[in-house]
């Protein structure tokens, strides 16, 4: 049936091509868009998100955790916390899903060129930061020092552990790990990401920071960065919301006059600070 209006809510059919466990309760889903043209046109930036459909259950937004140019697959990290994620966790390789996107603004990676980059990832919040890290590593000479602060509640909740050695091995790149509660075999720091970053004390000079994590973590990470001399306009955050449409219609993600889905999800922190409503 032909329609005069293209339907922005209509997902593209995609096939699950790979599934692996990322952390306790978190799976990495690899999907490939069925239509080769749609797949070629699916041009995304670090920090953008997609709406993933588990047919018969629903659709939810996920930060895209793969990097454009690294294979045709789109990767999404799925934390099992609700009905859609529960259903996605039951799917197998070969199953059909729906994908809409890319949505949202993404990180202005070009603006960060020439600067030292401090990345703070908390738990599943590491997912949209992985393509930030990958993009810097793919264009290593364009960026200054990369300092990655990576945290989780416990070691089994750390995401992308198999990439740590690769990150560490890159020039001018540092990785610092911490967990809220350690296990006996944990060789790294114990404590909150705020203690970790205050201990390392990265310089705010010619630097920007990028943070993603639970709201409470963002709140206290910003206080720590302030203590270390970072100005609000040096800090970037990406926010989470239950975006039902992802295209600025359903209203579900408003913070005052701002829609997280279309005005964000990436914001410079001085803007977030000026929001009428707090995100925490």
């Amino acid at each position: 049936m032909s329609h005069s209006h293209p339907n922005p809510m209509k997902p593209n059919l995609a096939t699950i091509t790979g599934i692996r466990n990322l952390a306790t309760g978190i799976k990495l889903l690899q999907v490939k868009l069925d239509d080769p043209q749609v797949s070629r046109d699916f041009d995304y930036q670090p920090g953008q998100f997609a709406e993933l459909s588990a047919f018969g259950v629903g659709e939810s937004p996920f930060g895209i955790t793969s990097t454009r140019g690294h294979g045709e697959e789109i990767e999404l990290a799925i934390n099992r916390v609700g009905t859609v994620t529960e259903a996605v966790h039951r799917l197998d390789v070969g199953d059909k899903v729906g994908v809409r996107g890319p949505l949202g603004n993404g990180f202005p990676m070009d603006q960060f060129k020439g600067k030292n980059v401090v990345v703070l990832g908390g738990g599943i919040g590491g997912a949209p930061l992985r393509p930030v890290i990958q993009t810097i590593l793919d264009n290593r000479a364009d960026y200054g020092k990369l300092s990655i602060f990576w945290a989780a509640r416990s070691p089994d909740l750390l995401v992308f552990t198999e990439e740590y050695d690769y990150w560490r091995a890159q020039p001018n790149t540092e990785l610092y790990l911490t967990v809220d509660v350690r296990t006996p075999d944990w060789p790294h720091k114990e404590g909150l990401i705020t203690t970790l970053i205050e201990g390392v004390n990265p310089s705010p000079e010619n630097a920007i920071t990028i943070t993603c994590g639970p709201p409470i973590m963002i709140k206290f990470a910003m206080l720590s960065l302030k203590k270390l001399g970072f100005k609000p306009d040096q800090n970037w955050v990406t926010l989470e919301a239950k975006m039902k449409c992802g295209i600025g219609k359903c209203g579900r993600c408003n913070l005052g006059p701002v829609f997280v889905c279309t005005d964000g999800p990436v914001f410079r922190f001085d803007r977030v600070e000026g929001f009428m409503e707090s995100f925490v």
Binding site: M1, H3, S4, H5, P6, N7, P8, M9, K10, P11, L13, S53, A54, F55, G56, V57, G58, E59, S60, N79, V81, G82, T85, K96, G98, P214, P215, I216, E240, A241, K242, K244, C245, I247, G248, K249, C250, G251, R252, C253, N254, L255, G256, P257, M276, E277, S278, F279, V280
Partner: protein, 337 residues
């Protein structure tokens, strides 16, 4: 201007109902809403303002937006059928402006909401002017009028001449012209009566002044009463937030059919803004109710160029704890001094 007798109007509506889907005010167990009618005999003629707005026909309370069919031969995503040509009769001017408020976001801001656009295109609106502002009405506070033509294709105004009820028809758009091609009546000059306006209503302050009052303790007080029943949102002709969810339509061996439904949602409800994991940036009923008013009088005008309120007053009548949007407007006016 065409002038119709009541009998001529009824005959025309019967004719329209025969050829198109005709929707008009109907009485459903004592409540007035817009429903499909088979002719003028089904129309509830004697009404002031319906309990539900005609929004229900352009943006239904629950509607399938996609059908997904999964079978051995593959997965198909099907769009809903095109809505049939529909005439909405008896629309009050405030409700027509409610559609314009929804248009501001759903149509005028890219990408356009295709489902809503299809309903909107398929529908012609025949308004009937209010002879006066009824109890709870405050259309004049938010830029409207009981005889406003905005957003309508045809506006009928009731006249009394020689103890006879007549309707004067203002044909306002191309769509209206098409529909009026076979409209009976007599072409003649007519002086339209002025509606009776309610005096002493408050003045709506501009959005910048609302912004300055965001942290007033007043919002705590007014929100203390809110039960989050969502009635205000559901009767509102300008509220347009929605939730999306899937349902299983049928499950047979080898073939599964799912419907993706969208349904009205309300920012006064707790789950509306809650994120995965349980965090809610608007954790209190007070902060959620405040959002409703700020959306209407600050965010929506600022972001989309239209107020999110048309002054129909339905939310005032629907609220079980007497939260009164007009009193809120008056309070902000007082705060602004």
């Amino acid at each position: 201007m065409k002038v119709l007798t009541q009998a001529q109007l009824k005959a025309w509506l019967d004719d329209l109902a025969h050829n198109l889907t005709l929707v008009a005010p109907v009485n459903v167990q004592g409540k007035l809403e817009y429903g499909k009618v088979s002719g003028s005999g089904d129309v509830a003629w004697d009404y002031q303002r319906t309990d539900m707005s005609p929004k229900t026909w352009l943006f239904p309370a629950t509607e399938s937006v996609l059908t997904v069919r999964q079978a051995q031969d593959g997965t198909q995503i099907l769009e809903p059928p095109e809505p049939p040509p529909t005439v909405l009769f008896g629309v009050r001017p405030c409700d027509a402006r409610g559609n314009l408020a929804i248009d501001a976001l759903f149509l005028n801001k890219a990408p356009s909401d295709s489902q809503y656009a299809r309903h909107r295109e398929a529908t012609t609106l025949i308004g009937v002017a209010c002879p006066q502002m009824w109890a709870s009405c405050f259309c004049t506070v938010v830029g409207g009028a009981p005889n406003s033509t905005e957003g309508l294709d045809i506006l009928l105004t009731e006249l009394q001449e020689d103890k006879q009820t007549l309707f004067a028809a203002q044909v306002l758009t191309e769509k209206g012209q098409k529909l009026a091609a076979n409209m009976p009546g007599t072409e003649r000059e007519v002086a339209l009566p002025s509606p009776k306006l309610t005096a002493g209503l408050p003045t709506l302050r501009p959005s910048a002044e609302w912004q300055a009052r965001f942290n007033e303790v007043y919002w705590q007080r007014v929100g203390d009463r809110c039960l989050a029943c969502r009635a205000c949102t559901f009767v509102c002709p300008a509220c347009r937030c929605f939730d999306v969810r899937d349902e299983v339509a049928s499950r047979q061996p080898g073939v599964q059919v799912f419907e993706r439904l969208r349904a009205w949602d309300a920012c006064t409800s707790e789950p509306y803004r809650r994120i995965a994991g349980g965090h809610n940036p608007r954790p209190t009923p007070q902060s959620r109710l405040r959002n409703r008013f700020y959306c209407k009088f600050m965010y929506y005008p600022q972001d989309f160029g239209s107020l999110g309120c048309v002054g129909c007053g339905r939310c005032i009548d629907a609220c079980p704890v007497n939260i009164d949007i007009l009193e809120v407007i008056a309070s902000v006016e007082k705060m602004a001094g």
